[in-house]
């Protein structure tokens, strides 16, 4: 097992450009084993772009990203997922035409060892593994609280449950580092509250979490540390209390009026 507090993910000098725009500008930070680290910042600060670079969806102009010593830069998304770095998407993203159970079953891809030849030959090991995966899918659905929805089409779920399903699909891949991109955006306070409890259960499984979120109540409630980005640069790093008291953050992100309240 990993040592609590050691650097799990390290990002060094990450720069990402889209044409003439520098979306992420020489950003360095690390995510420690077992912690919940949040990236905050106004829209366009480069949070999602950094996410995309870490998980291989966007190419970095320069800089290096390592997970437990393995270079992620240049790897394909599926190879990064295989190392245990799994993400969710900002825009709701599920396999809409499939049942809730089938969604999770696809997420279990990395948990399965069937080879094409064994499948075509119909070997008993394949059937055995399918039964095992069946149990694992139910386990994941219980963890997020969607077990009653197992047979329903993903497209038929209400918004809050759809977002839970996304997390379930990611969890099925057995992440060691889970990157959540605005998981509670659009949720009502009750749904956000239950999501925070889910996050605690995810943590209890030893999963490190990197979170991008706009809901400050959630961010302040769940994070060990927070990094604040503005216009592609890190402007502050610290505990929730430190971030809340940082005048730079308050000015850039929370707005001028919070400055007076905080002072």
């Amino acid at each position: 097992m990993s040592v609590q507090g050691a650097a799990a993910l390290s990002v060094e000098g990450l720069t990402i450009r889209f044409g003439g725009l520098t979306a992420v500008d020489n950003v360095s930070f690390e995510v420690r084993e077992g912690e919940v680290l949040s990236l905050i910042g106004p829209n366009g600060a480069g949070k999602t772009t950094a996410f995309n670079a870490i998980t291989g969806y966007v190419e970095a102009a320069s800089g290096e990203i390592r997970y437990r010593g393995v270079r992620l830069t240049g790897l394909a998304p599926h190879a990064i997922a295989a190392l245990g770095v799994v993400r969710t998407f900002q825009k709701t993203s599920v396999f809409a035409g499939q049942t809730v159970h089938a969604n999770v079953a696809i997420g279990l891809h990395l948990r399965s060892r069937q080879t094409p030849l064994a499948i075509l030959l119909g070997l008993p090991s394949v059937a055995r593994e399918e039964r095992q995966l069946e149990r694992e899918a139910e386990e994941v659905l219980r963890l997020v609280g969607l077990e009653a929805r197992s047979g329903d089409l993903a497209a038929s779920l209400p918004y809050g449950e759809l977002r839970l399903l996304e997390v379930a699909v990611a969890l099925a891949a057995r992440p060691k580092l889970l990157l959540l991109d605005e998981p509670v955006s659009g949720m009502n306070p009750a749904e956000t509250g239950s999501f925070m409890r889910l996050l605690a259960r995810i943590r209890a499984q030893g999963i490190t979490v990197l979170l991008v979120e706009h809901d400050m109540k959630m961010v302040m409630g769940v994070s060990d540390r927070i990094i604040c980005l503005n216009q592609g640069r890190i402007i502050a790093t610290g505990t929730p209390a430190e971030i809340q008291g940082n005048p730079e953050v308050v000015r850039a992100y929370l707005g001028e009026r919070y400055l007076h309240k905080g002072a």
Binding site: A76, P77, H78, S93, A96, L110
Partner: protein, 340 residues
């Protein structure tokens, strides 16, 4: 219950040559069966990975030509004074090589289509089919071009010195096609209900999400293309040794279109869809001919039926019937169906 239905169906299909004395009907069923194999193979790509192979007939034709050429033997001059010569080989070897060669071409297409999806995949496959057709038409020394490959031997199986059986008559060919169809169906069903099938569906439904949970989508697209091409090639080989003449017309675009119609009308992404679609659109022209309807009118009826199916049952016949059946069963009590 489903097992019972399957056994009943198989028993019925096995019994057909016993009571059906009209050889023409058997011929129609054999050809429909060959097309059903091709349609099932297309469904693996179109229905499960969501990629439309509009050059699918190329794999069919490659299977037919390679198998025939191996069985007939050939001599081609690769260089003016250097010829490659192949003595005639047994038909079963030709069929295996035809299937394998088609699979190899499928692998190449899958690799070329590394990052190519949607419309671009269609273009790659259409171009491939056209190139293959032109080769068949113009490489006269090998393929006889428009003169066609004639006198292709029928399949002979046996143990040397003990017994030998040649698939010359219609009932024998009917059983041969039936066996290959069932084998292909079982293989596709295994594939679809496995990690590989889920990966293919994931590619169809949401590629970025699929890659985010570790699915190497290209790998499974290549796998689907290879299996699909192999089955289309096997169908082509069956066809060549049944009709025993092959010309470049096997590469006509209309055959691909026929396969696509069978898959879409029957229900793409369902196991039974291409079979239902293949039976309806494979037998329909013959049924219409039976009513002594003129060929032009036949095509009009065919087209109108196609439009009606797509308009009223956009998901295809099989999903529509299944949906109707489930709604009917759900009325008294909600049924919990296992994952499809």
């Amino acid at each position: 219950m489903t097992r019972g239905i399957t056994i009943a169906w198989l028993a019925f299909l096995l019994s057909v040559p016993l009571w059906m004395t009209d050889l023409y009907v058997l011929h129609v069923l054999i050809v429909a069966g060959i097309f059903i194999i091709a349609a099932m193979s297309l469904n693996l790509l179109l229905g499960y990975t969501g990629q439309l192979s509009l050059g699918h007939v190329a794999f069919f034709g490659i299977g037919a030509y390679v198998s025939s050429l191996v069985a007939l033997g050939f001599e081609v001059h690769v260089l003016p004074d250097w010829a490659v010569r192949l003595e005639p080989k047994p038909v079963w070897l030709g069929m295996i090589l035809g299937t394998a060669f088609a699979a190899g071409c499928g692998w190449v297409i899958g690799r070329i289509s590394f990052k190519v999806r949607g419309a671009y995949f269609v273009i790659v496959t259409v171009s491939f089919a056209e190139v293959v057709r032109l080769v068949a038409l113009n490489w006269v020394e090998l393929t006889q071009g428009p003169m066609a490959l004639n006198n292709i031997p029928a399949l002979t199986l046996g143990i040397p010195g003990l017994f030998e059986f040649t698939f010359l008559r219609k009932p024998a060919n009917y059983y041969l096609v039936l066996v290959v169809t069932v084998v292909c169906y079982v293989l596709i069903r295994r594939l679809v209900h496995s990690r590989a099938g889920r990966a293919m569906i994931a590619l169809r439904e949401n590629e970025p999400l699929a890659t985010s949970v570790g699915v190497d989508v290209t790998r499974y697209l290549v796998l689907a293309t290879v299996v699909s091409a192999a089955m289309a090639g096997a169908a082509g080989a069956l066809y060549a040794h049944y009709v025993r003449i092959v010309d470049p017309d096997v590469f006509l675009f209309i055959y691909t279109v026929t396969m696509v119609i069978m898959v879409i009308a029957g229900g793409k992404g369902t196991l039974a869809g291409p079979i239902v679609g293949g039976l309806i659109f494979g037998l329909l022209p013959e049924v219409l001919r039976g009513f002594e309807i003129k060929p032009e009118v036949q095509w009009v009826v065919y087209g109108v039926l196609m439009i009606l199916v797509v308009y009223f049952l956009p998901q295809g016949i099989v999903p529509a019937v299944r949906g109707w059946w489930e709604r009917r069963g759900r009325a008294p009590q909600a049924v919990q169906e296992a994952a499809p």
